[in-house]
Symmetry: C2
Subunit: 246 residues, 2 copies
DNA sequence: GCAAAACAATTGTGCTGACATTAAGACTTT
DNA sequence: AAAGTCTTAATGTCAGCACAATTGTTTTGC
């Protein structure tokens, strides 16, 4: 069963070979060339077809297995899992998610200040006493409808920002342009009921359900860059993720 | 800086070498031998110290980077990230999580039946028309306090189960003992307010906040094994996860 | 005819070697 | 003294090989 998935490898490209393979197979799965449940050729043949070594091929398949798109079984082969199983949660911001889905989010900056951090913030961001941070609250709307109320604290020695920038683009894109390379984030998701302030801002009745998220992001040098406490209208937002068994 | 982390490798063990290294370094981090922020020796030296090849060492470090315990930077080295950043969410059940944390959960089976699945369930579990499934609702308490109200549908051609088993142990452990090897699951987390029934079962006021979770689990042969809709008291439950940038 | 044993196919683990790329520091030059 | 340049050290990528472990199939033996 030679499943000729028409992917080609560009050896002069700066993007690593295994990553090209990942992208190629992903595209084949999402476009339907590789149907859910179908078996791939074995690693050695696939590598030969693309003129790659087996380790390179394996590294590509490793990533796809990790992300839940493929399933391998020793002695048997490799299968495409059901297409309905979506991609795992990645480190992205709400703003990115929305724009990637073709929505046009708007951001209203409700407050903005540059001040000395209080003790909990110092501890969360692991800053020395007396450090200053940016503190701001934003309201995000999609299609005119309020979706999220966000409060953030950002260390100030890493990027410049002001109210106008925050109103025009997402926090993460500002930070990335300022040279921050995000590595990981921890977040906690829970629920609460809307108080009067939240209800009025989000245009929903007091007492309605909200999704809460607390997040702290770390950059590639280990610095805690940003922490935030966000609430979302539960009728318009939920978090989807794929868990992969190790 | 030779950071002598006293880990030893057992070449006669059936557990893969790279996995032994992963466990060793994890243990060193959690025990404090490797302090947050400290730099590791470079890959080649580390491999030499343990009499391993560099690819094996790298594979171990890859896993630790993926799970968010280490941070690498080309040309610089590898660092231990802050210890406060916890492990990523894994594919485990609530029951497992609780018992692992020393709690003693109890389960009350509220209803149990073995019947033909309705259309949405057939679609979710990808079963042919007329298939039968187990359907049951359970109430989980910890320390006598209700925590979760759970409704599940399980395909019946994969494991036998009855009311008594569900009252005595977790669903996932029943399925695992029945030979199911879980591979991945998709879940969606959101929020809602408690209706009268939920409120009375969970011993909380009507209208209080609940965390909702919908999950569908897939086994290693690609079959949809189980799907469920759970609600948790928001004052006792939240989901924590670590997101790693790829 | 059936069960056990041998075989083939496939992924899993591990090694050696080579070169590319990036980042930081040391050095030189202006 | 400041700026640019070279060197060095570390991770990133890729090739090729060998053997182990597991699973499904085929053959063999009773």
């Amino acid at each position: 069963m030679a499943n000729n998935l028409g992917l080609s490898i560009d050896r002069s490209s700066p993007v690593p070979l295994y990553h090209q393979v990942v992208q190629g197979i992903e595209a084949a799965i999402y476009s339907g060339v590789l149907e859910p449940g179908s078996r791939l050729d074995n690693e050695i043949d696939l590598a030969a077809q693309l003129n790659l070594s087996r380790p390179t091929m394996r590294k590509a398949m490793d990533e796809l297995v990790r992300s839940g798109l493929l399933v391998r079984k020793r002695g048997v082969g490799t299968q495409v899992v059901s297409s309905q199983v979506r991609r795992p949660l990645e480190l992205s911001s709400l703003y990115d998610d929305l724009t990637n889905n073709g929505k046009k989010p708007t951001t209203e900056v409700l407050s903005f200040s540059h001040l000395e951090a209080d003790d909990p913030t110092l501890a969360t961001l692991q800053l020395p006493a007396g450090s200053k941070v940016y503190h701001f609250t934003r309201l995000r709307k999609v299609g005119g409808k309020p979706l999220a109320l966000m409060e953030n604290w950002v260390r100030d020695d890493i990027a410049e920002m002001d109210e106008a920038m925050l109103g025009a683009e997402g926090l993460y894109s500002i930070l990335r342009r300022g040279g921050v390379n995000f590595r990981l984030a921890t977040q906690r998701i829970g629920a609460m009921t809307a108080n009067d302030y939240q209800a009025s801002m989000l245009d929903t009745p007091a007492g309605s359900a909200l999704v809460t998220m607390e997040r702290t992001a770390v950059d590639d040098t280990g610095r805690r860059v940003e922490t935030g406490h966000h609430v979302y209208r539960a009728d318009s937002y939920s978090v989807e993720m794929t868990l992969v068994q190790r």
